[in-house]
């Protein structure tokens, strides 16, 4: 059965203050309801004044997603009663948004963007016992009320939950590169996912955070809807809630009719005029976007497309780390291999981003140089990276300190000594006798007290002997 998925992504924008007042947008360790004022609490008589930075951000999102920036857009009031809404209407954009009609490519598929608009975030609802269905009452934290949100709406162009997830991953990287979205400040992406099967009615799964959850919610929904169709029944139009614990969706409300929010133009905010000058100023200030960066990496560093994509899409901080390493260390391919296969794994294991971690391009380059020089074996290097990510100590220090691990700074010297002491075996090996290699490895291991990777030692022996032959 065919699946159609369209997404509405709400991105909390990276601004110092809220959308319509000067309260701090992402207060750290703040008490509930402490970052509020009469404006974001919607007190009688107060009026919104728009944060220009938030408009800048939406313009840059629009441009990055290939949208048209509308020279005139409007703010509207979307009216509904809910305790998280200080005014019981939300200021959003309805008639004409800031940006319209763009698209991005995700794994060779083109996903169309219908619109990108600016709106205010409602307050945060806290269920008294942590559960929507059983809580006797809710608590409201207005610290979040008025945080600027960009809502990015796609056309229903995704054909599987997996595609939806890939789209979200790409989108979030773009948002991060644009510096409009900063998770480290506490900003989040929330997704409303619309899904239908075989052209039937769609269900909307509201307010899902985490791309894995979105994929799970959609998978559940796809199966649920397909089962209904198989039984010869019709899927009902409704809004559903995703239970993060049970990983299932549940009916929130039936939608027999289009929801009626009674939109009117917000009479407190004039028409938003975005001049060509404003637009081009944003355009000029835009950073290199991920797809362009991948192309540049292929050319500049000669790494594989796969590696370039992993580095770039892991995050802007990861890509900058790579570029910084390449400034110090001259082998980009080795750098990307070690970063992707080992450094990234250790970071993921700690659920840490590279920018939050103790790793630095300087010390990581040192590690790569130590491997090259044979001061440590590759096998040990893989171990060392874990400790390096854990402690942030210099790799040379870790290697030295670690008694249990072979201190193999002198491995190459030992290899050299063994070759010198066993000229017979060395020349036999040079002449093509492989048994001699095993003998030499054994001799080296004897010297190191069985510490060291035999493969690594074999590589070194080969290098030393061929160097010697060249020297002769």
């Amino acid at each position: 059965m065919s699946i159609m998925i369209g997404l509405e992504v709400h991105c909390q924008l990276n601004t110092e203050s809220k959308l319509f007042c000067s309260c701090e947008a992402y207060p750290r360790d703040a008490q509930p309801n402490s970052s509020t004022c009469e404006i974001c609490l919607g007190y009688p008589g107060t009026k919104p004044v728009i944060n220009k930075k938030a408009i800048d951000h939406v313009i840059s999102i629009g441009l990055a997603l290939g949208c048209r920036i509308n020279p005139e857009s409007y703010f509207s009031r979307k009216t509904y009663f809910y305790p998280d809404m200080p005014k019981n209407y939300q200021i959003t954009q309805y008639e004409v948004p800031i940006a319209s009609e763009g698209s991005i490519e995700v794994n060779g598929m083109r996903i169309r963007i219908r619109r990108v608009h600016l709106e205010e975030d409602p307050a945060r609802i806290v269920y008294a016992d942590g559960n929507l269905e059983t809580a006797s009452h809710v608590l409201v934290d207005y610290n979040r009320a008025g945080t600027p949100l960009a809502e990015i709406v796609t056309e229903p162009d995704m054909k599987s939950p997996k595609e939806a997830r890939a789209f979200l991953e790409k989108l979030s990287t773009i948002l991060e590169y644009l510096k409009v979205y900063d998770q480290s400040k506490g900003a989040s992406l929330r997704v409303d996912a619309n899904i239908s099967v075989d052209g039937g009615e769609r269900a909307e799964v509201k307010n899902v955070t985490g791309f894995e959850n979105v994929e799970k919610a959609l998978n559940y929904e796809a199966v649920r809807q397909q089962n209904i169709v198989r039984l010869g029944r019709k899927v009902e139009r409704e809004t559903r809630h995703f239970d993060e614990v049970a990983k299932t969706t549940r009916t929130l409300r039936k939608k027999e009719f289009e929801e009626d929010y009674g939109y009117i133009f917000d009479p407190d905010l004039p028409v938003l005029d975005i001049s060509d000058e404003w637009k081009s100023k944003i355009e000029k200030g835009m950073p290199e976007l991920p797809d362009i960066m991948v192309k540049r990496f292929l050319k500049q560093y000669g790494i594989s497309e796969y590696d370039a994509k992993v580095i770039v899409y892991t995050g802007k901080d990861f890509a900058s780390f790579f570029e910084d390493v390449c400034r110090i260390y001259s082998k980009p391919k080795a750098a990307s291999r070690w970063m992707i296969n080992y450094l990234l794994k250790s970071l993921n294991w700690r659920s840490e981003r590279i920018s939050q971690s103790k790793a630095s391009p300087d010390t990581f380059s040192e590690l790569l140089t130590m491997i090259d020089k044979g001061e440590i074996t590759e096998r040990y290097a893989k171990e060392l990276i874990k400790e390096y990510v854990d402690t942030g100590l210099r790799p040379s220090e870790i290697a030295l300190k670690s008694g249990a691990k072979p201190s193999l700074q002198g491995l190459r010297d030992i290899v050299k000594k063994v070759i010198k002491d066993n000229t017979k075996a060395a020349s036999e090996f040079a002449a093509g006798k492989n048994d001699a290699l095993a003998y030499l490895i054994g001799a080296v291991l004897k010297e190191t007290g069985k510490r060291g990777d035999p493969k690594e030692i074999a590589r070194m022996i080969k290098e030393e002997i061929s160097n010697a032959s060249v020297a002769q």
């Binding site: 919607g42 009688p44 004044v49 728009i50 809910y82 009479p267 407190d268």
Partner: protein, 468 residues
């Protein structure tokens, strides 16, 4: 009828304060005593400021001047209800920008004047508190919705200016019915920050005063751009009193025929006399036509109710204002608060306003009304190419008696606004001045000018005032 005595003009008072010839302590206690007895007689106030005169006022253009403030403007530390029960206990923690400017200029807040709930009315009878009585005849209305402001201005036997507010005629109506001057500035001329919203695209903070000079002076103080109000115009303020005494010779006044049909004949005669007197000062009078005016009331009420119904959504018994013991679901709780907190007219406007912006009706009502507004602005703008100002009656009748009002249907009441809705809908400045009395009751003339042409209105109004 007891004619109000102007003990001392505002202009003279302010000069004497400056020269030090006023015993300010005595003045403060006299004003307090007088406003208390005025309250007993006519009830212009919802809340009298207990702290009046306690702090030494700032030095400035209004030093020691008692200023009353319509109750829809927030006043720090003074209860602000906008005439509604739902805000009975609401004490703002900030001043509206206009109020802050009055204070910074040395004005002293006398109290908060009565009004129709949230501005929903023409006679101040839709008030959750005492209804202000007309000092010319306490059996009659002061007009609305700024009825308390008109009442206090007419009744005060001390120098005083009222800060009022108009959405569809709420300054002109009470000015006409209480024989006072009412200045409704251009939309955006005065900051709306701190003004409790009725219909944000039309709400205008303005002035009611005894003389044209007082209104011009107060406008000079409260006008100007405010970074807290995105719709406040980027113009600075100016000294509007300089327009007083300007020669009106050669100024062109248009008289729209649509505004003189089916109105009270006494009103018509007095307004025509006033226009004739301006002509006597060599202003050029010509008849004009504003045919789309007949759509103004419908368009005005659709937009006003549409916006009002969203503005009133915030009153739900959380965060401020009327609260109750929490029980049941949120929808049950806020419904109960709103059922008991809002008056009948507020409920009517919420229901109508919600209907007119609902999916399926929105295009036929709300969007169409916005188009009518654009059309009306065009029509007025075209007229202003030929004339400097337009003269009409302020109200189509003499101030009615409360028992007469009680018999009127809501639609009949809405139709009383036919002189004022068009200019208010379009954001044009207007001034209403008293042009005499009929059967002992005051009559007002309304002058309308193009956007930001308050200066012209002040010149013409002052000229008409001199000849009264």
């Amino acid at each position: 009828m007891k004619r109000v005595v102007i003990l001392i003009r505002v202009k003279t008072f302010l000069e004497e304060v400056k020269s030090g010839s006023i015993d300010t302590d005595k003045f403060v206690s006299d004003v307090k005593a007088s406003s208390s007895s005025m309250q007993e007689k006519y009830a212009p106030f919802i809340t009298l400021n207990e702290g009046f005169g306690k702090a030494t006022p700032q030095k400035g253009a209004l030093q020691y001047l008692p200023v009353s403030v319509k109750d829809c403007l927030c006043t720090e530390g003074i209860r602000t209800t906008a005439g509604s029960k739902i805000l009975e206990t609401y004490v703002p923690n900030f001043d509206a920008t206009a109020v802050a400017k009055v204070k910074a200029a040395g004005g002293m807040i006398l109290g908060k004047t009565a009004q129709d709930e949230f501005g929903f009315g023409t006679f101040s009878t839709n008030c959750a508190y005492q209804v202000p009585k007309n000092p010319y005849d306490p059996e009659r209305t002061c007009g609305g919705s700024s009825g308390g402001a008109g009442c206090a201005t007419a009744a005060a036997d001390f120098p005083h200016i009222a800060i009022a507010e108009s959405t569809g005629g709420s300054i002109t109506a009470p000015a006409a019915f209480t024989g006072t001057v009412g200045l409704t500035p251009t939309y955006g001329r005065v900051s709306r920050y701190g003004l409790i919203d009725y219909s944000n695209s039309m709400d205008k903070v303005g002035v009611i005063s005894k003389e044209v000079y007082d209104s011009a002076l107060m406008l000079s103080v409260i006008a100007g751009h405010d970074p807290l109000d995105s719709t406040s115009h980027n113009k600075g303020s100016e000294d509007f009193t300089k327009y007083i005494g300007k020669d009106v010779k050669g100024m062109k006044i248009g008289v729209p025929k649509e505004y003189f049909s089916s109105i009270d004949s006494n009103v018509k005669k007095l307004v025509e006399d006033a226009i004739a007197k301006l002509e006597g000062q060599e202003a050029e009078i010509s008849e004009i036509s504003l045919p789309s005016t007949k759509y103004a009331i419908a368009a005005y009420y659709i937009i006003a109710m549409g916006e009002a119904s969203t503005n009133l959504a915030k009153y739900c018994g959380m965060r401020y204002g009327k609260q109750d013991k929490i029980s049941g679901e949120f929808s049950e709780y806020f419904s109960s608060i709103r059922s008991s907190g809002f008056g009948e007219e507020a409920k009517r406007r919420i229901i109508l306003g919600t209907y007119m912006r609902a999916a399926g009706f929105r295009d036929a009502y709300y969007i169409k009304a916005l188009k009518v507004r654009s059309l009306l602005i065009k029509e007025f703008k075209a007229a202003f190419k030929g004339v400097d100002a337009i003269a009409t009656p302020s109200m189509p009748m003499l101030p009615p008696r409360f028992d007469e009002i009680a018999k009127l249907s809501p639609l009949e009441i809405y139709n009383m606004d036919k002189m004022t809705t068009a200019p208010n809908l379009c954001g044009f400045p207007t001034i209403s001045i008293p042009v005499g009395t009929s059967q002992g009751l005051p009559v007002g003339m309304q002058l309308i000018a193009d956007h930001f042409m308050e200066g012209r209105l002040i010149s013409l109004a002052a000229a008409a005032e001199v000849i009264k």
